[in-house]
Symmetry: C2
DNA sequence: CGTGGTATTGACCACATGGTCAATATGGTG
DNA sequence: CACCATATTGACCATGTGGTCAATACCACG
């Protein structure tokens, strides 16, 4: 419902009337149940980002190998067709500029991602598979790279075919991995549902 | 004028009436001279980004050392107080989602930055100072990292004090430089005017 | 002087937004 | 049945937007 609309048209286009139209009711009714549209937007944003996160985490299910974990995350985040979620992130940042609550929510989501990656990194460094980096700091760098990628996606900068490799390369260098180790050619494993 | 307003309030808040108010005239007059506000926004965005670019390029004036060049760029882009320009980038990406012309303009700006960095990289690899990377690809990665940084800036994610180091670290790793080589503690050299 | 072009205005329009409010259905419970 | 809570509506409001238009003011030039 609201989430699909936000995905395809952007959070700012999510309005009492747009929801009402899709539901086939009056906008007054929507107002009745959702009196504060700003909050609805923030919550929708949060729900969408949380959904994406959970989906990715679900994909890692059971797999404990930090290399394949990282590879999968990179593959999923740089896959073609992720433009809509990139848009949600962008809307979230935009929203966070004026709405303190939204900013807090977005930061919390970023923390989740950072934690996920940091976890992989610390497992990898512990096992001696990765170079000895500070997992927290390095996770931040990877998140920043992925966020930059989202931005690029939205204005169609660069060839999407190269996205995965372009994220993988610097991460591999940072972790002392051989070139191509992290460049998953689109993870086949069941895929997101 | 218009640029200052876009910087402080965001491109979307740049409106016929907001300009008129600041100029102390009627909004009809503004319409008379600037009939298409969308185009004004796009042009303002472009001008601002171009201004930032030129300012940074100006700072490098005469210095041919790729290491100090890169270090300065990283320092400038991750300095505290750059939130407003980060906002312009964000607005640009946002604008580019629906306005094809704006997207083209933003992509052109990204190309400029990518070219600037690629140039540094190819000089560095040529001189054997940097590891042997593909300058074009690697420049892209660095740009993505900086763009991700801009996004983080806007929602206040992470400690701004660490921004510079966090960008420097992965780049150093990628280029085979010693830790800290690129972590300029705020370039003192005259500074941007 | 007056004639013409530019600067500037106020009044207006259509449209969309968030939101309120009183008035109805509608359906279950005592 | 009567009653009450909930669902739902249409009408309305203030505000903001982009934009048009006819009417002035003003100033230079012949």
């Amino acid at each position: 419902m609201a989430q699909a609309q936000a995905l395809s048209s952007g959070l700012q286009q999510l309005t009492h009337r747009s929801i009402a139209a899709e539901l086939g009711v009056t906008h007054a009714l929507v107002v009745h149940y959702e009196p504060d549209i700003e909050s609805l937007r923030a919550r929708t944003c949060e729900a969408l980002l949380m959904g994406e996160f959970d989906e990715v985490v679900g994909t890692l299910n059971g797999d404990a190998d930090p290399v394949s974990n990282l590879s999968r995350v990179i593959g999923l985040m740089s896959r073609p067709g992720r433009e809509d979620f990139a848009g949600v992130w962008l809307d979230g940042w935009s929203l966070g500029r004026r709405d303190a609550a939204a900013a807090r929510a977005v930061r919390a989501m970023m923390d989740r991602w950072q934690g996920l990656v940091a976890n992989m990194l610390s497992r990898g460094t512990g096992a001696g598979v990765f170079a000895d980096v500070d997992p927290q700091e390095c996770a931040w760098e990877i998140i920043a790279l992925l966020d930059g990628l989202s931005a690029h996606t939205l204005v169609g900068y660069g060839d999407p075919q190269h996205y995965s490799a372009r994220v993988a390369a610097p991460v591999e260098a940072r972790l002392g991995l051989a070139r191509g180790t992290l460049n998953a050619t689109l993870a086949p494993v069941h895929g997101p549902h």
